[in-house]
């Protein structure tokens, strides 16, 4: 059938975006009337989206199918000994499997909508061709990442999306905050990348000789091995090595997905354009960390120790990030903290062994979070500030944006039947089911439950502050208005997805993209009670937000309230960024100064000292060459005398001292 055969052409999706990158990057500056090539990027990404959707449709029609196409790049035969007794090879190729098809939908749909939205949102900015070219390159790399069929290729694209993120955070590079945020994002994720790379090394070592996986290196480290995909190849490998490898992979994922303690870069990454935040720092790239954990859990396998570490990191980050969102005055940063928190849910689910549930939340989250960002972008576009306390009363002037943000907020809060409810509820009930076997998961389950309340509270606080009341709190703000159809269109499509994406999983075909998620989910009395509890908590959060902030009210803590100190800690982001900065300034800068001192004074000093001493010697020795023949003969005679003295006096004396003859 046509649709199923399309999987072999999956490589075209990233290639199309590379084409867009090249066209926009080189021709863009000459196409002023086409938004410097922005329309080219929109059209090509539209084609890529259709292709991606068709490929995903093909996957839906053939449950559990894997299409792996690759070409060998480097092949080293083994000689039966050494680290790789069977040799190893490096391959490049595409793997279309259910979860990569799911990711194809997420990345290309959100990517296309964001590019379209950017046409209007970015119209007053300079460097549009750079913007669209970099976004195209990002989409190419992201598609390459989700289609990668081996760990090395995955890492290659992983780095490429990282560098695109760096470019786009620093898009307004004249702004010092943006330039330093870009550097921070790059450096912090680099910590994770190094851990990931070490993890790859450890896995190579673990699988070089172990059991059925002995040929893993020889096969190019392919994810799919044999005819049994989604069965970890961990059998026979050294469990200690596997645990270490899993922890290192978790480090990589924590860097990319902004999990504690590598979360500091994501809120600062909001210095980039809002569209970039929506696409890269909410819907797709930051989800790559979760996708890595999913791929690793499906193909490589985690040990119990790894799973506990992942659950701990995810569960803690969920609550930790949500608390910081509660007090933040910046509309984009509130959503950014929310992203960290939601990514924590996904990590938690993958760690507890519910990979498909985690990916399900990734899928719904991508849509409602992109929606929230784009709606916030429309607000920022209209009023020119990100400060929630200056906004207000926007509901009357921006009804479409208001509705979009409302839908996104409800979805994020987990109110049925919006998308976020289904996936978040699935995470909570799945986790609850494991508590009997893993009582050590209890604290993280409670954190996840507590976050439900906080999530609803902080997002509706932002919602009421921006849209509630009758007029802006800052009168100097320009009068807001809804954007044109180019921005409204993506908002509406995403609103639709934020409402309905959750129930897609009940469609039999679609559920093939999340094999084993259990369709339709079986609801027991416990599940329904849990759902009722989480919806109740979310409702309580919304109610609290309404009482404190609704209808233009502004809740101010009394200055003598004991909560003020907590508020300060939260606003200062638990001093973690300060600690990192202090570490950088004291320790790293101190080491750098020692190195600088060594370089400047010890190494250069030795070289320059030698040079100076030779120059001085030269000045003195030059005087000897007087040109007067008699001086030279005097030297010759003096030399002769020295030789004679040495030969006739000193040498015999030395010999007699040592007892020679």
């Amino acid at each position: 059938m046509f649709l199923q055969d399309l999987a072999s052409w999956a490589f075209l999706v990233p290639l199309l975006m590379v084409l867009s990158f090249v066209l926009v990057g080189f021709l863009g500056p000459y196409l002023k009337n086409w938004r410097e090539g922005g329309w080219i990027a929109v059209v090509i990404s539209g084609i890529a989206m259709v292709l991606g959707l068709l490929i995903a449709a093909g996957e839906m029609l053939s449950p559990g199918r894997y299409t792996d196409l690759h070409t060998t790049w480097i092949s080293v035969p083994g000689n039966g000994t050494g680290v790789f007794p069977n040799g190893f090879s490096l391959v490049m190729g595409t793997l279309v499997d259910p979860i990569s098809a799911l990711m194809l939908i997420v990345v290309n749909v959100v990517g296309f909508l964001v590019l379209l939205y950017s046409i209007e949102y970015m119209q007053h900015d300079r460097g549009l061709s750079r913007y669209f070219a970099e976004l195209s390159l990002f989409l190419a790399a992201m598609n390459g990442l989700i289609l990668a069929d081996n760990l090395l290729e995955f890492f290659l694209f992983w780095e490429l999306v990282g560098v695109c993120s760096y470019f786009l955070i620093g898009f307004y590079y004249e702004k010092p905050a943006a330039a330093s945020a870009a550097k921070e994002a790059f450096l912090v994720t680099r910590v994770g990348d190094v851990l990931f790379l070490l993890g790859i090394f450890v896995y190579f070592g673990a699988y070089a000789t172990a059991g059925a996986a002995g040929g893993w290196a020889a096969n190019g480290f392919l994810f799919v091995h044999g005819t049994n995909p989604y069965i970890p190849i961990g059998t026979g490998a050294n469990p200690t090595l596997l645990t270490i490898g899993g922890l290192l992979i978790l480090g990589g994922a924590a860097g990319k997905s902004a999990q504690f303690p590598l979360h500091v870069w994501l809120p600062d990454a909001m210095e980039g354009p809002t569209t970039v935040s929506a696409l890269i720092h909410a819907a797709t790239m930051v989800a790559a960390g979760v996708y890595l954990l999913a791929v690793a859990s499906l193909f490589l396998g985690f040990t119990a120790a790894d799973q506990f570490a992942i659950v701990a990191v995810g569960g803690f980050t969920t609550l930790f990030a949500a608390t910081m969102a509660v007090v933040n005055p910046d509309i984009k940063r509130v959503i950014a903290y929310s992203t960290i928190s939601q990514l924590g849910y996904m990590v938690l689910a993958v760690g507890a062994g519910f990979t498909m549930v985690g990916l399900y939340h990734l899928f719904t989250h991508a849509f409602f979070k992109a929606l929230l960002f784009l709606a916030a972008g429309a607000v920022i576009h209209a009023v020119g500030t990100q400060n929630l306390f200056k906004m207000g009363g926007l509901r009357k002037v921006m009804p479409v944006t208001w509705l979009a943000f409302f839908v996104g907020a409800l979805s994020l809060s987990g109110i049925p039947p919006f998308a976020g409810f289904w996936s978040k509820d699935d995470i909570l009930s799945s986790l609850y089911g494991t508590l009997g076997a893993h009582p050590d998961y209890w604290p993280f389950f409670l954190m996840a439950v507590a976050t439900v309340f906080l999530t609803a509270y902080y997002i509706f606080r932002a919602f009421f502050l921006a849209f509630g009341g009758d007029h802006p709190r800052d009168d100097s703000l320009p009068h807001g208005h809804d954007p044109s159809w180019i921005m409204k269109g993506p908002l509406m499509v995403l609103s639709g997805l934020a409402i309905f994406a959750g129930v897609f999983v009940f469609i039999p075909g679609f559920s093939n993209l999340l094999p084993g998620i259990g369709v339709p989910p079986t609801y027991t009395v416990t599940d329904i009670l849990l759902s009722a509890m989480s919806v109740g908590l979310a409702g309580l959060g919304i109610g609290t937000a309404y009482v404190l902030w609704g209808n233009g009210r502004v809740f101010t803590l009394p200055d003598d309230s004991p909560l003020q100190s907590i508020r300060t800690v939260l606003l200062r982001r638990y001093y973690i960024k300060d600690a990192y900065d202090a570490f950088g300034q004291r320790v790293i800068y101190g080491i750098a100064r020692i190195a600088d001192f060594t370089d400047r004074f010890v190494i250069d000093g030795a070289i320059h000292g030698a040079e100076r001493s030779f120059a001085g010697l030269n000045r003195r020795m030059r005087g000897i060459q007087s040109g007067v023949v008699l001086d030279y003969t005097a030297y010759v005679v003096a030399g002769l005398v020295v030789v004679l003295v040495v030969l006739l006096v000193i040498a015999p004396w030395l010999l007699s001292m040592w007892g020679g003859t």
């Binding site: 040109g627 007067v628 023949v629 008699l630 005097a634 005679v637």
Partner: protein, 108 residues
Amino acid sequence: MTLDPFTTAGLVGLSGALLGIGLFGIVTRRNFILLLVAIEIAINAAVLNFVYFAAFASNPSSGLNGQSAAIVVIGLAATEIAVGLAIVLALNRIRGSINVTEATALKL
């Protein structure tokens, strides 16, 4: 003939004295011609040694080696004098003086 220690000491002393006189002249004379004369004296110290020790060689044919060397050195000395005198003439023509301490152009 055998080596007589006293005669040997005297001849070596003589040649050493000749060398000393020559070196003294080389270092102290400023007149180019006297410098050449001093060099000749120093060279003759070496020639004397060659000739003397060749006379006591155990194998008469190898004694010829020393005498040949003496003749070669005498020839070389003559050649050197020829070149030296040519330099003296040229120096006199250029500078109007044959004082070697004034000819200091030979330096970088």
